[in-house]
Symmetry: none
Subunit: 90 residues, 4 copies
């Protein structure tokens, strides 16, 4: 979603609670993802404030720089950042 330009540099991400609901995953799983992003310096998590984009990875230069925690996806989500799987049965 950051690569897709949905969240520009220095912008504030939705809250952990919102993001986890958007993707249909638990907060624990979402936090693990955020912590990996922070480890790679893509975001900064500020206690009591929110998570902020600190660097937008360049899709074009993929391969020139090594990502410590690469993302393996079989598909990309739309620009609204919503997980289509969310409309699943409960």
């Amino acid at each position: 979603m950051i690569e897709n330009g949905l969240y520009p540099e220095n912008s504030k991400l939705p809250s952990e609670s919102e993001l986890s609901h958007m993707r249909g995953i638990s907060r624990m799983t979402l936090r693990q993802a955020l912590l990996l992003l922070q480890e790679d310096r893509y975001i900064v998590m500020r206690l009591g404030s929110g998570s902020y984009v600190s660097k937008v990875p360049s899709e074009k230069r993929a391969g020139l720089e090594k990502k410590t925690n690469p993302v393996y996806t079989s598909s990309q989500y739309g620009s609204n950042g919503l997980d289509p799987r969310k409309e699943r049965q409960r």
Copy 2:
């Protein structure tokens, strides 16, 4: 800071607002710390007036007296009491 002699007995501490800015934390968090210090009788908070040092803990005699709310620090701040982390990101 009291142990370091920065604020002697019966002296007036900076206001809660000042102290919170000095340490780079919110006033609510600073107040929780002051309330713990007051619980241990190190300071007295006077409504509408300020906070005052009522007892200076002796570092040397550490262990002879029991602190209800001990402080766990990995480092000590300078004599100006300023938090070097204050230059935090935005």
Copy 3:
């Protein structure tokens, strides 16, 4: 609400988030109330689990036992525990 029998002994209270919405107050304020109740041993707050009633104060015997943190109310709420003031202005 505990005195009114809404939450019997050993029962689980609604979450802090729910209770704060029910009463139309912020979660921080609700927590201060819960902490006072816990101090007086009426409830137990279990991290990651919830708050539980540990003792039901007897209204009838009021005066025979001393409450450290008494409640001063000008009125009582209904059995649903909802605050009529909740429809506040914005």
Copy 4:
């Protein structure tokens, strides 16, 4: 300032601290004024949130309705709401 359209209906007034500095008066004096305005239903003071304009008095109809707490001024302030007396010696 409300009559001059500086603060429209449902808008949020500056904080008590800001307003008192703007007019060069103490917060106590400013609060007395706000409380009078609230008594006349011109504003609503929401604890922990701020003061909000609830009704804009009509200058044109002055006299048709009775103000409980009328304002007696010898002059009007500019649209910026700043008190010219503020630039006084200290």
